[in-house]
C-alpha cells in the first residue's frame, strides 16, 4: 500500500469499516510511514473529540456520508487549479491577444513617435545657428515645425529667439563684470576705443529690439540682433583678456 491509498482509507479504517486484509495492509503501512501515521493520529484525535463533545442522544444521521462531505471539502481546497485551455496566439500577438489591425496601428504609432523624437533630438543636438533659431518668424515655419511647436516638442521662433537672447544676456553680464575688474589697467586710448564700440553696439541692440517689438516677424532684424549681441559678447570677452 502506498501513501495515497492509505490516506484514502484512513477514515473507514478508524471507523472499523475496512475488510481485514486491507486493514492489515493499512497497519503495515502506518508502522513504516511516519507521515501517514501522523495523519491517522490526527484524524483519530478529531474523531475522539467529536465523540466526546456530541451528546449521546444526538447521533449523526450517517457518519460515513458526513465524512465523505468533509473529505470532499478538504480535497476541494487542496485540489490544484484546472489548467486553462491554451489560447490560440496569433502571429502578431504572441502573448498578447490583439488583432492584426490593432498591431498595425500600434506599429504605426511607434514609428511616428520615434520619428518625432528623432527629429527633436537631432534639432536639439546640433548647435542652433542664428539663421535657424533667432531670425526666423512664424511665417517661415514649415507645417511640421508648427506642429512640433504646438505639441510642445519644439520652440516657436519667438520662443527660440527669446531663449537665445536670455543666454546671450547672461554671458554679456558675466563678461561685463570681468571687464569692470580689468578696465582700470587699460590706457586711455584703449578705454576710448572700447567705450566707443560698446556704445555703438548698445545703440544697435536698442534699435533692433524696438523694431522687433513692433514687428516680431522681421527675420532680418532678428538676425541682426543676434549678430550684434554676439559682437558685444566678443568685444567684452576680448577686452577682458587685457
Amino acid at each position: 500500500m502506498n501513501c495515497e491509498e492509505c490516506q484514502q482509507h484512513i477514515s473507514p479504517y478508524l471507523d472499523g469499516e475496512l475488510v481485514e486484509d486491507v486493514a492489515t495492509q493499512m497497519r503495515e503501512h502506518l508502522t513504516i510511514c511516519a507521515e501517514c501515521s501522523k495523519l491517522c493520529e490526527d484524524f483519530s484525535v478529531i474523531l475522539e473529540s467529536c465523540r466526546e463533545s456530541v451528546p449521546a442522544d444526538i447521533i449523526p444521521p450517517n457518519a460515513q456520508a458526513l465524512w465523505c462531505r468533509i473529505n470532499n471539502l478538504i480535497e476541494s481546497e487542496v485540489q490544484p487549479e484546472p489548467e486553462k485551455a491554451e489560447v490560440k496566439k496569433g502571429w502578431f500577438g504572441r502573448g498578447w491577444n490583439i488583432s492584426f489591425s490593432q498591431a498595425t496601428a500600434g506599429m504605426l504609432a511607434i514609428a511616428l513617435i520615434s520619428s518625432l523624437l528623432t527629429v527633436v533630438g537631432i534639432r536639439n543636438y546640433f548647435e542652433p545657428s542664428g539663421e535657424d533659431y533667432t531670425s526666423r518668424s512664424n511665417a517661415s515655419q514649415t507645417t511640421f515645425e508648427k506642429f512640433l511647436s504646438k505639441i510642445g516638442l519644439s520652440d516657436s521662433p519667438q520662443q527660440a529667439r527669446e531663449r537665445r537672447i536670455e543666454e546671450q544676456r547672461a554671458a554679456i553680464e558675466y563678461w561685463t563684470k570681468r571687464v569692470q575688474e580689468r578696465r582700470g589697467q587699460w590706457n586711455a586710448k584703449m578705454r576710448d576705443a572700447f567705450d566707443r564700440n560698446l556704445n555703438l553696439l548698445d545703440e544697435s541692440v536698442s534699435e533692433y529690439t524696438t523694431i522687433l517689438e513692433e514687428n516680431p516677424d522681421d527675420e532680418l532684424t532678428g538676425e541682426m540682433l543676434d549678430t550684434v549681441l554676439n559682437d558685444k559678447m566678443d568685444l567684452l570677452r576680448e577686452f577682458s583678456d587685457l
Partner: protein
C-alpha cells in the same frame, strides 16, 4: 678793456652753463617720451605653407608675402615696451602679445611688420589698430580688429578670407577662388571689395541701416533684394564660392578689377 672782455666772457659762459644745467635737469626728470621705441627682430626658417598666428593688443600690423622660405618678424615697441615671446609649434608661429602681457597696467603700441612665404596662412588680430595684409595666397587670411581700426587686404588669393572690425573701413583687393569662403563684417565704416569681374560666388550682402549695397557690374537678374532693400542675395557665375558681407552702419561696394 681787458677786464671788460673778461667779465663779458665770464657772463657768457655762466649763462651757457646755467642753460645747460637747466636742460640736463629737465631731461633727467622728464618722463620718457612715448615715441621712444624698442626693436624686436627675429627670422624663422619656414615651410611654404607655414601658418602665422598673431594676437596684438594695440598698434599696426603689416603682413607681406615674399619669395623666401622663412618668416621674418620685426616689431617696433613703444614705451612701455611689451613682452614678445614668439613660439614655433608644429609648423605654426604664434605671437600672442595679449597673453604675454596680461595684467600689465600699461603696455605701449606694438607695430609689427611680418614677412611670410606667399603660400602661408595668416591669422592676425588686434584689439585696437590697423591691419594690412598683402601678397598672400595661402589657404587662409583672417584679420580681426576687436574695436577701432582699418583692414586692408591687397593682392590676396586665399580660399578662405575673413575680415572683421568694429569701427573702421575694410578694403579687399584679390581673387575669389572657386569653392572659397569669404566673410567681411564691419560695425561702422565702408566695405569695398575689388574682385575680378568674372568672379563666381553666392552672395549675402547686408547693410541694414544705410541700405547702401552697390553691386556695380556684379548686379544681375539672379540678385534679389530682401527685407526692404536691407539685404541682397543671389549669385554670379556658377556660384561656386560663398561671399557674406555685413555692414551694420555703413555701405558695401563692389569694384571690378
Amino acid at each position: 678793456m681787458a677786464r671788460t672782455s673778461k667779465s663779458r666772457l665770464r657772463k657768457y659762459f655762466t649763462g651757457k652753463t646755467t642753460i645747460l644745467l637747466l636742460l640736463s635737469v629737465v631731461f633727467f626728470f622728464a618722463p620718457e617720451e612715448t615715441s621712444a621705441q624698442k626693436r624686436f627682430a627675429k627670422t624663422y626658417p619656414a615651410t611654404p605653407t607655414v601658418r602665422v598666428s598673431l594676437a596684438n593688443r594695440s598698434g599696426m600690423v603689416t603682413v607681406e608675402g615674399w619669395n623666401r622660405p622663412e618668416v621674418q618678424v620685426r616689431a617696433y615697441l613703444e614705451y612701455p615696451a611689451a613682452e614678445i615671446v614668439p613660439q614655433l609649434v608644429n609648423g605654426t608661429i604664434f605671437i600672442n602679445v595679449v597673453k604675454d602681457n596680461q595684467g600689465r597696467a600699461e603696455v605701449g603700441n606694438v607695430n609689427f611688420t611680418i614677412r611670410v612665404p606667399y603660400d602661408a596662412a595668416v591669422d592676425i588680430e588686434t584689439r585696437v589698430g590697423n591691419l594690412n595684409v598683402s601678397s598672400v595666397r595661402g589657404a587662409l587670411v583672417r584679420a580681426k580688429i576687436s574695436s577701432d581700426g582699418d583692414i586692408t587686404l591687397t593682392n590676396i588669393s586665399a580660399s578662405q578670407v575673413s575680415a572683421e572690425n568694429g569701427i573702421g573701413n575694410i578694403f579687399f583687393d584679390g581673387e575669389i577662388s572657386s569653392g572659397g569662403k569669404y566673410r567681411f563684417t564691419s560695425m561702422r565704416g565702408d566695405i569695398n571689395l575689388r574682385i575680378p569681374f568674372n568672379s563666381s560666388f553666392k552672395l549675402i550682402a547686408t547693410a541694414p541701416s544705410t541700405r547702401s549695397i552697390d553691386l556695380g557690374q556684379f548686379a544681375n537678374n539672379n540678385m534679389r533684394l530682401v527685407g526692404d532693400g536691407r539685404r541682397v542675395t543671389g549669385q554670379t557665375g556658377d556660384g561656386s564660392s560663398s561671399l557674406v558681407v555685413t555692414n551694420l552702419r555703413g555701405g558695401i561696394k563692389f569694384i571690378p578689377r
